[in-house]
Symmetry: C2
Subunit: 684 residues, 2 copies
C-alpha cells in the first residue's frame, strides 16, 4: 500500500509478496507466497481451466514459466520462483510430454514469475447451443395481474385500504387473499389514489406482490437451468407464454472444480467455499436476469418469478445449503420437495416481491433438473415404454410409461464432457465435434466448433491468406467428438470390439509405444498447439467405462421393470450433449439400448423446458411433486445387477445380440451373426 | 478534509460551512448555511426539545446565542451568525419574555455561532414509570419448542432430511408443517447429525424457524408498546409466561415533532423523513431487545417473536408505511388487520427466524394500542357498562359491555402532556406533578418528580448545605400537575366555574395584566430558571378545552348507547398518565363521567399488557381481530352531538348535575344544589 522506497535497490524481503504476471492477458499482481499458481490466477482474474479442482487428475491446467524473477531484484535465474515439482507431478508432466510446463494446481508461488497460459489451459466463455424447444404449454402461471376498481376511502368506514382492495378482488375477480407483501403494502395508498382508485394488482399465488396505479400490463418470469457447467435462462412473458429472450453462460463455479465432487470438496475445504460458490451462482442468475431483460427491452425488476432446476448439488449451493451430505452415502438431501422463497432473501435482484420456485428432487443424485425433464417429456403419460437419458457428468436415466417409472443415476464420469481424455475439452471453439475415418486409409477428417469446413477442406500454411485459413485449429476433442472418434475407430478396424488397439493398425496415423497404441486424430499442422492430437488406449478405455455405465444403468432399470431387451419404443436424449451426439455413433458404441434409429430423439435442454413449463403453469408444480414421489429410484452404487450389466457392456456391441438395429447401419464386415429379430412395439 | 492552511489567517469563504458549538454539551461541527438551528442540532447529536416540529406553536425550542463568530476569523460582532427573526418569531419571543433567545426551529444558520441550550429546551431521557401489571394469562404462544428423534438417513430412502423431520413432528407431536425458514433449512443437516438425530425444533405457528442439536430449552418473546413519547418493552419467557425483563425509553421520533401531526408533516416535508423516523424506531426496538435480553442474561437472538402495539401513526412508521393518509379525512389506514412479518425484513436483530406480529387497529385514529387495551381489560366480557379512557395526545375512549362496544378518539390536544401550557413540560425530573392550594391564603405547595419532599418543606438559600437542598427545583408542570393545579385553583376560588380568574383574587400569588389574571404556582426561588412558574388564563382555557373534549367523547358514546348519565359502573384509566392523575381532581375538573371514586381504576400501560397477552397466547390474536371489527367507532370530528357535548362540558362541573358523587368530596361552598340521586347499577 505505502511502498514508497526505491524497489530497485532493495532485495526482496522474505515476507514480501511475490509479483506474478500472467501472459498473454498481461494481468499482474502480488500474491502471498505459498499459494498455488491456480489460486493466484483466480485472485488476479485469470481464468485457467481446472476440471478436477486441484486433484492432479484432469491435467487441464498446464502453464509455462517464462521468467522466474525480474530485473528489479537483480536475480535472473529461474530457480526459486515456483515450488519444485513433486514426483507425482513430474511423472504426469512426463506422460503429457510437457516437461517444460507445470500443473498450476500443484505448483506454488515462491517468488516473482512470468507465467504463460497456453490456449488449451485457458478457461473461456463457452459457445452455448442450448435452445428452448417450442412446445404447447397452457399458460396458467403462479403470477397474474388483475385490474380492479376499489371503493374510495370514506369517513366513518374503517376497512383500511388493504381491506378495500381485498373486497374489490373478491367481488370483481373472486380472488380471496389474506397476504400482501410488505413493500407492496408500503406503496398501496399512493397507488390507489394516483389514478382514481383504479389499480393493477400483481399476485403471486394468493399473495399481492405489487399494486400499480391504473391499468398496467407486463408480467415476466425467468426459467433457469443451473447445470454444473452451463447456466441457461429463458425469459418468458407470463401472459402469452412466449420466450422473449434466452441467454446462457458458463457456471462460474467451474473455477472451483468442474465435477460435482470437486465442488462438494471445495465447500468443505475452504471456510468460505460454500459462500463463494453460492454468491457466484447468485451473481450469475442476476446477470442472466439483467441480460435477458435488456435483450427484451425490459428491466430485471419486470421479472416476477424465477423457477429454477438443477442437479441436487447445484440446488443446494444455490440455496446456500452445504452440499456435503451429497458427497457420500446415504446421499441425504436437505430437502426433496419443491419450495418457494422470496427472491430478495437470496440476494436476487428481480421484482422486489418476486419469488423463486425450486422444483422437487427425486433422490440424492436425481435432482430438480431431471424432474424438469419429466415435466417436459411426460413419460408418466406414455402408453409405451420409453427411455430418457440426460447425459452430463452423471447420466440420469428414466425408464417407464404411465403405469410405472424407474430412475437411476449412472456414474459415467466426465469423459463425455471432455475430461479424463488426453486431449479432451469442453464444447468450446476449436473442439473437435464430428469425426470420420476412412476404413481403408485410416485417414481422419473432422469438424471443429467455430469452423464450418471439415478439416480435409482446410487451407493451411504461411502462403494461404488469413481469411482463407480456418478460424480455429483443433484445440481438443469435446464429448460428441469423442463418441464419434471411438465409434469410427471401431468401424475402421483401428480398435477391436474389446477396445484394444488392433495390432495390425499401422501407418502415419498409428503411434505405438510397445504394445500400447494411439491414433493421431489431428496432425501437428491441424492443431492449435502445434502438436498432434491423439486418442490413446486410456482414452478409449475411459469412453468404454462411461458408455458401459450408461448402458448398464438402462439395462438395470429394464431388468427391474422386467421388460425385454428390445421393449424400448423410443429413446430420448436430453441435454445439450444429447443434441450434438450422432445417434448412429452412439448406438454403434452401445451407449443406448437398441431401438430404431429414427426413434431416437434429441430434445435439447429438456430440464430447462421443464423449468419453463413449471413457470408458465402452476398446476405443473403439483404434477412435478407427484411424479417426483412416484418415480422409483434405483441406487446403482450398491446394486449387484448393475455391476454385472456394467462388466457385460464394456465391449463394443457387435458381439452382443442386444442391438438388432445395428444390422441396418453397420458395414457388412462388422455385422454380428444375425439372429431372429423380436417383435417390437409399434410407435406413436 | 485536507484543511492544511493556517485557519487563523484566512477570512471565511462565502461557501464555507459555518461552525456551530452547542453548550453546555460542547458538541460542535460544521453545517451548511441555511439550516435551522434545530436541524443543525440534530445533525450534531444535540437534543433540543420540539413538540410542534417547527411550526412556531410549542415554543419549547428556545436557545440563546452566546457568541456570533469566533476569534479565528477576526470578527467579534454578533451580527450575521443567525438569520434575523421574523415578525412572528419576535412577537412570540416578546410574549415569552425571552427577547434574548431565538426559536431554534425558526432561526437559520448564517455564520459561526456558539449556542446555549437552556435546561427547559433540552430533550432528555424521561423517567418512565410504566410497569406491567401482573395478570393471569394462559400461556399458549405462537412460538413453541419440541424435542424429536428423527429417522436416520438410509441409502435407498429418499425423503430428504426435511421430509424425515416432518414425519417425526407428525408422529411424535401431531404437528403438520409444510414450511421451514431458509436459514433453518441451511442448518438442518448438521443439526440432525450433531447429537444422533435428536433435535429441538422451534416452530412459529406451523413454520419451523430453528433446529438445534439435542435437547434445548429457551424461547422468549418481546412485547413492545410504541407510544408517541415512550417505547416500552417486556421480555417474556414463552414457556412460563413470566416477564424476565422490562425496559423503556423515549421514542427518538420526538426530536422530529412531539405530536402525531408534526410527525406526519415531517414524513412529508423531508424527502427521507419517513425513512429517518422508521430507522429511529427500529433502532430503538433493537436497543430495547438487546437491553432486556442482557438484563435477563440472554441475547437478542433468543427473542423468537415480537408483538407490537401503538397508535396507527406509530405502527405505520414502524412498518415503513407513509402515515400521510392519517393526517386528514377520511383518515384511511393502509391496513386495519393484524399482520405478521419476518423481523429481519424490518431490520430487527432478533432470532434470525423471528416474526413480528402487529395487532389490528379499529379505525384511523384508534390503533393497535387501543386494541391492546381491550385485550387487557376485556370490556367485551363485562356484564355491566364500563368506560375505558386512554389519555395521550389523543384520548381513546371505549364504552360498553359484553353486548356492545363503542369507541371514539377525542382530540384532547397535548395539554395533558404538558404542551400548549406556558410552563408545561413532560413527566421528567423537576416537573410539578402534585399541587395543593390553601383556600384561605391561596398559597401553593407542590411536589416535583425526583424530589420526595413537598415544596413547603424545601430548604433553600445559599446557607443550606447542598445535600439538604431539593435535588430538583421546579422546571415546569407535567400533565398530572396541570390537572391538579386547575382543580385546586377552582376549589380555592381562584378561578370561577366558567374558568375565568376570580376578579376578587389578589395577593402575592396573583398576577393581573388588565383583566387577565395568572396564578404564581412556584416562586422565583422555587424555580430552576429563577423565574416564577405561573398558570395563565390561557393555560386554564387549554385545560378546559382538553377536559371538555375528553368528557364530550365519553358523553357522545353514552348518548349513542342510549344509557343514563350515571350508568357507568367503572372507569378505567389506562396509560402511564392515567396512573398518576388524581381521580379526585380529575372528577372535580369534570375530566371523566361521574361514578364512585373507588370505582376509578388506574391500570397503567394496558396497551403494553395487551401486547404481552397476544404474545403469550395466540388465541388472543384472533380475539383481537374479532373485537377490533366489533367495536363501533364513532367519528367525533363530524358529529354534531359531540360539538354540543363539548360546549356543555367547558365549565367546571359543580354547575352540572352530572356529578352526584362530587357531593362526597367537594367542600360545602362548592356544592351544587342537591338533586334526587338516580339509582346506579351495582358494581361487581
Amino acid at each position: 500500500m505505502s511502498e514508497t522506497a526505491d524497489a530497485g535497490s532493495i532485495p526482496p524481503a522474505a515476507n514480501e509478496q511475490p509479483l506474478l504476471i500472467f501472459m498473454p492477458s498481461g494481468r499482474r499482481g502480488h500474491v502471498p507466497a505459498g499459494k498455488t499458481v491456480l489460486e493466484a490466477a483466480r485472485e488476479l482474474g485469470v481464468e485457467i481451466e481446472s476440471i478436477c479442482g486441484g486433484r492432479l487428475t484432469c491435467n487441464k491446467c498446464l502453464v509455462r514459466v517464462e521468467e522466474g524473477s525480474f530485473q528489479k531484484h537483480g536475480i535472473s535465474s529461474r530457480a526459486g520462483h515456483l515450488s519444485d515439482p513433486s514426483a507425482e507431478e513430474l511423472a504426469l508432466l512426463e506422460k503429457l510430454d510437457s516437461l517444460d510446463c507445470r500443473l498450476s494446481c500443484a505448483a506454488t508461488v515462491q517468488g516473482d514469475a512470468l507465467i504463460y497460459v497456453p490456449e488449451s489451459s485457458r478457461g473461456q466463455k463457452q459457445i452455448i447451443r442450448k435452445t428452448a424447444t417450442e412446445r404447447t404449454i397452457e399458460v396458467d402461471p403462479a403470477v397474474r395481474q388483475v385490474y380492479v376498481e376499489v371503493d374510495e376511502a370514506e369517513l366513518g368506514e374503517h376497512r383500511g385500504d388493504w381491506g378495500r382492495l381485498q373486497d374489490a378482488l373478491r367481488e370483481q375477480w373472486e380472488i380471496e387473499t389474506e397476504r400482501i407483501d410488505l413493500p407492496a403494502l408500503r406503496e398501496l395508498q399512493p397507488a390507489l389514489r394516483a389514478e382514481g382508485w383504479a389499480v393493477t394488482v400483481t399476485l403471486w399465488q394468493d399473495e399481492v406482490i405489487d399494486v400499480q396505479p391504473g391499468y398496467r400490463e407486463g408480467i415476466y418470469g425467468l426459467a433457469v437451468d443451473i447445470g454444473s457447467t452451463t447456466v441457461a435462462a429463458y425469459l418468458c412473458d407470463l401472459r402469452t407464454g412466449a420466450i422473449v429472450a434466452a441467454d446462457s453462460t458458463m457456471n462460474p463455479q467451474v473455477t472451483y472444480g468442474e465435477d460435482l465432487m470437486s465442488r462438494i470438496s471445495y465447500a468443505d475445504s475452504e471456510r468460505t467455499g460454500l459462500e463463494k460458490m453460492h454468491e457466484a451462482i447468485i451473481d450469475t442468475a442476476n446477470r442472466l436476469a439483467a441480460q435477458t431483460a435488456r435483450a427484451a427491452g425490459l428491466q430485471a425488476r419486470d421479472i416476477h418469478e424465477l423457477v429454477v432446476v438443477g442437479n441436487t448439488t447445484m440446488i443446494h449451493i444455490f440455496l446456500g445449503i452445504h452440499p456435503g451430505e451429497l458427497g457420500g452415502a446415504p446421499f441425504a438431501l436437505a430437502n426433496r420437495d419443491g419450495m418457494d422463497i422470496k427472491a430478495r432473501e437470496l440476494g436476487l435482484r428481480l421484482h422486489r416481491g418476486a419469488n423463486v420456485h425450486v422444483l422437487p428432487a427425486q433422490a440424492g443424485h436425481v435432482g430438480a433438473d431431471n424432474v424438469g425433464v419429466l415435466l417436459a417429456e411426460e413419460p408418466y403419460r406414455w402408453s409405451e415404454v420409453g427411455l430418457i437419458v440426460d447425459v452430463g457428468t452423471n447420466a440420469e436415466i428414466v425408464l417407464g410409461n404411465k403405469d410405472w417409472l424407474y430412475s437411476a443415476s449412472s456414474p459415467t464420469g466426465p469423459a463425455f464432457e471432455g475430461a479424463q481424455i488426453t486431449h479432451g475439452m469442453r464444447a468450446a471453439p476449436g473442439a473437435i465435434e464430428r469425426v470420420r475415418i476412412d476404413p481403408e486409409t485410416k485417414e481422419a477428417r473432422f469438424r471443429v466448433i467455430g469452423e464450418e469446413r471439415w478439416s480435409d477442406e482446410w487451407q493451411l500454411g504461411a502462403e494461404v491468406p488469413p481469411e482463407e485459413q480456418p478460424r480455429h485449429l483443433a484445440a481438443g476433442i469435446c464429448g460428441s467428438g469423442i463418441i464419434e472418434v471411438v465409434a469410427e475407430m471401431f468401424l475402421a478396424g483401428i480398435i477391436l470390439a474389446d477396445g484394444r488397439f488392433n495390432p495390425a493398425f499401422q501407418g502415419d496415423r498409428a503411434q505405438w509405444d510397445g504394445r500400447t497404441g494411439a491414433y493421431v486424430l489431428a496432425t501437428a499442422a491441424e492443431s492449435s498447439s502445434g502438436r498432434p492430437l491423439v486418442v490413446t488406449q486410456d482414452d478409449v478405455r475411459n469412453v468404454q467405462l462411461a458408455k458401459a455405465a450408461l448402458y448398464a444403468g438402462a439395462r438395470l432399470l429394464m431388468q427391474r421393470a422386467g421388460i425385454e431387451i428390445d421393449a424400448v419404443s423410443r429413446v430420448i436424449l436430453a441435454g445439450a450433449f444429447g443434441s450434438y451426439i450422432s445417434p448412429q455413433h452412439a448406438m454403434i458404441l452401445g451407449l443406448i439400448p437398441d431401438c430404431e434409429l429414427d426413434a431416437v430423439y434429441p430434445v435439447g435442454n429438456a430440464a430447462g423446458d421443464g423449468a419453463r413449463i413449471a413457470l408458465l403453469n402452476r398446476q405443473k408444480r403439483a404434477e412435478a411433486q407427484t411424479v417426483a414421489h412416484q418415480v422409483r429410484y434405483i441406487e446403482t452404487a450398491v446394486d449387484a445387477g448393475f455391476q454385472e450389466a456394467f462388466v457385460a457392456a464394456i465391449h463394443i456391441p457387435h458381439a452382443e445380440d442386444a442391438f438388432p438395429h445395428l444390422a441396418d447401419i453397420l458395414p457388412d464386415n462388422k455385422q454380428a451373426p444375425r439372429r431372429a429379430r423380436k417383435r417390437r412395439y409399434s410407435r406413436d
